[in-house]
């Protein structure tokens, strides 16, 4: 009797179900936090944890307005500023890194230096060590130059940290392009600038989006440098979040969960907007040709 074999190109319900279960386990912590954000303090601390409860928006309100312990009146918190800081610092530095990285990547791809690979390797080595290794010298440099606590300081630092990654990723996209198209444009009278902006950039938009999102996620979640190098005015959400822990009334899990949930929104939104580009970006070159 012939052995049954699986039809190519179909997984079937069973596998779909198993995948859903695995996916659910991975997503569970996120779901937990989001649910907690909508719970009252009592529900959040209930044992066993409540799956069904009356949702409240109280936590979200108290992210931005909190009753003062001493006077009892509602006071605005600085969380709005911290969200602005996170968004401003992450988007600016990743954007800058992408611009510098793209220009550098084009140069590395099209006008290789003598010993091009060595340069690229050296650029990559800056990402090999854990950031904490260089935290002391960087901290001192920031103190001496007066960059500590300023927007420029933290933006430049994040830009510097994102550039190697941007160069490597974007270079691989440029390498995949058919150089004949650039040659054709040159023959047809296009200047080098036009060749780059009109023909190279549009072809790697997907790759640029992917690079942007990866950089954004890394920067968005960065904690260590933000903790040491931002001031009161330039504090980012991860640092602010850590500061809500502790204090005289203990950990307010509902409040923390609400901040985390809000913190997820921008990155989720960007990733969602760019998802088609992202998929094309990360699979760039593997499906072409």
């Amino acid at each position: 009797m012939a052995r049954k074999y699986r039809e190519i190109g179909k997984a079937g319900w069973g596998y779909t179900a198993i995948t859903s279960v695995v996916g659910f386990i991975y997503f569970f912590p996120v779901l937990w936090i989001i649910l907690t954000a909508f719970k009252t303090r009592t529900d959040a601390l209930a044992v066993p944890p409540k799956l069904f409860f009356t949702p409240t928006l109280e936590n979200f309100t108290s992210v931005f307005f909190r009753a003062s312990i001493t006077t009892g009146t509602s006071q605005a918190t600085d969380m709005g500023l911290y969200f602005f800081n996170s968004i401003f610092i992450a988007f600016t530095s990743v954007g800058l890194a992408l611009i510098v990285g793209t220009l550098a990547a084009y140069a590395f791809s099209r006008y290789p230096l003598r010993g091009n690979d060595t340069y690229l390797f050296i650029i990559l080595t800056t990402r090999m060590m854990p950031p904490i290794v260089v935290i002391i010298p960087i901290f001192l440099m920031f103190r001496l130059s007066g960059l500590a606590g300023s927007y420029w300081g933290i933006i430049l630092l994040y830009t510097a940290f994102n550039i190697p990654f941007s160069i490597w990723l974007v270079k691989s996209f440029f390498d995949e392009l058919n150089p004949e198209i650039e040659d054709a444009a040159r023959m047809d009278g296009a200047s080098e600038r036009r060749v780059f902006f009109r023909f190279c950039i549009p072809q790697i938009l997907a790759g640029l989006s992917a690079t942007f999102v990866f950089g954004l996620i890394l920067t968005w979640n960065e904690f260590l440098f933000a903790l040491l190098l931002t001031g009161v005015e330039t504090r980012t959400v991860p640092v602010a979040m850590a500061r809500t822990l502790g204090g005289e009334v203990g950990v307010d899990y509902g409040l923390l969960a609400a901040i985390v949930t809000l913190f997820l929104v921008p990155i989720f939104f960007v990733t969602f907007l760019l998802q088609n580009q992202l998929l094309r970006g990360v699979t760039f070159g593997t499906v072409k040709k």
């Binding site: 023959m187 009278g189 296009a190 023909f199």
Partner: protein, 365 residues
């Protein structure tokens, strides 16, 4: 002379891709650079286009030296192997792109696009992007884009290599027609000899960065100047049989000893008399010129039929004398069966003699 190359050389590090070649292409002439891959033909084309710097030597277009001019200042049109259509632009925009640099009016651009799309039957696909085109259409657009301007000369890099056999034949005719109308100097790079033989006015056969022979398709085929050209041009390949000259009898008749003990007396170029007795030569004869008989004859050697390959109107047979393989093409009606003993015959004048330095036999210098 409108394209003129003088001692043109290109070196990549220690590798010499193009080695001091001299070449000229006249007005309205179509010249094919033909050679195996890596022989330097594309590099030569790219130097003319300005996409590669020449290491040494000079390039003249319409009499002016252009070595130091950027591609866009040379007024040369080039069509690329992979078409190099601009992926984000529509067909119409692709066609119009070269015209923008010339600063033409919108009306003039539209008119030219219309004219080209009529000539090449592109009117139905003008709004599509390159990703939506079939291979043949892409090729048409690429040709259209290269001829839309009024350049000094045309360069084609492997124009038909990506098309299937049927389309290739069709496009070969079309391109030839277009080129005839333009009557501009044109250089076509190809590794396909059929393409070169059918489209070119003259063929330059290249090997290892050097030009081995420049001549009309007919002459390159009929009178190859050296062993490489003889072996490279023509399908099936020319039979090349190493032999030793054992005697000359006047009027070009000579005796040759073939390794393996056989000998034959055939009529070749009369200049064979200039060669010394015992000279090592290579005898070349096209598979279609080789004849067979069932009776032994002095003007050939006896062989066994190894393999028979029917090719429709003709039959290709692989013959062997135990040491050498010979290819023979005969009319399909000639009965040939594997394992048969046959006698080959080298008809008068059909055999090329190449001397030890791989050059065809010439009068003593």
């Amino acid at each position: 002379m409108t394209i003129e190359l003088k001692k043109l050389t290109k070196r990549f590090g220690s590798l010499t891709a193009v080695d001091a070649i001299d070449l000229d292409v006249g007005d309205g002439e179509v010249l094919c650079l033909l050679g195996p891959s890596g022989c330097g033909k594309t590099t030569t084309l790219r130097m003319v286009a300005g996409l590669e710097y020449a290491t040494e030597g000079d390039i003249y277009l319409q009499g002016a030296r252009v070595n130091d001019l950027a591609p866009r200042d040379r007024n040369v049109a080039m069509s690329f192997q992979f078409y190099a259509l601009y992926p984000s632009l529509s067909v119409a925009e692709n066609l119009a792109f070269p015209l923008h640099a010339d600063g033409l009016s919108r009306a003039e651009i539209e008119q030219r696009v219309k004219r080209i799309s009529d000539t090449l039957q592109l009117d139905k696909i003008l709004t599509r992007t390159p990703g939506q085109l079939a291979e043949g259409e892409k090729q048409r657009v690429a040709v259209g884009r290269s001829i839309i301007r009024d350049p000094q000369c045309f360069l084609f890099d492997e124009p038909l290599s990506r098309l299937d056999v049927q389309l290739r034949e069709e496009m070969r005719g079309e391109i030839k027609e277009v080129l005839q109308d333009l009557s501009k100097p044109t250089v076509i790079v190809t590794h396909d000899q059929l393409e070169a033989l059918t489209m070119a006015d003259r063929i330059a056969v290249m090997r290892d960065g050097r030009i081995e022979q420049v001549d009309t398709p007919h002459n390159v085929f009929q009178s190859p100047e050296n062993l490489f050209v003889a072996g490279f041009i023509g399908t099936p390949q020319m039979n090349l049989l190493p032999a030793t000259l054992t005697g000359t009898n006047g009027h070009g008749t000579a005796d040759f000893a073939i390794a393996g003990g056989q000998s034959m007396t055939i009529e070749v170029d009369p200049r064979i008399a200039d060669l010394a007795q015992g000279a090592n030569v290579t005898l070349g004869i096209r598979p279609r010129n080789l004849e067979i008989s069932h009776d032994p004859a002095p003007d050939g050697i006896s062989t066994k039929i190894d393999i028979v390959e029917p090719m429709g109107a003709e039959t290709l047979a692989h013959l062997s004398d135990g040491q050498h393989d010979l290819r023979l093409v005969a009319d399909w009606r000639v009965p040939l069966s594997e394992g048969d003993q046959v006698h080959t015959r080298f008809p008068p004048g059909a055999t090329h003699v190449f001397t030890e330095n791989e050059q065809v036999l010439r009068s003593a210098p």
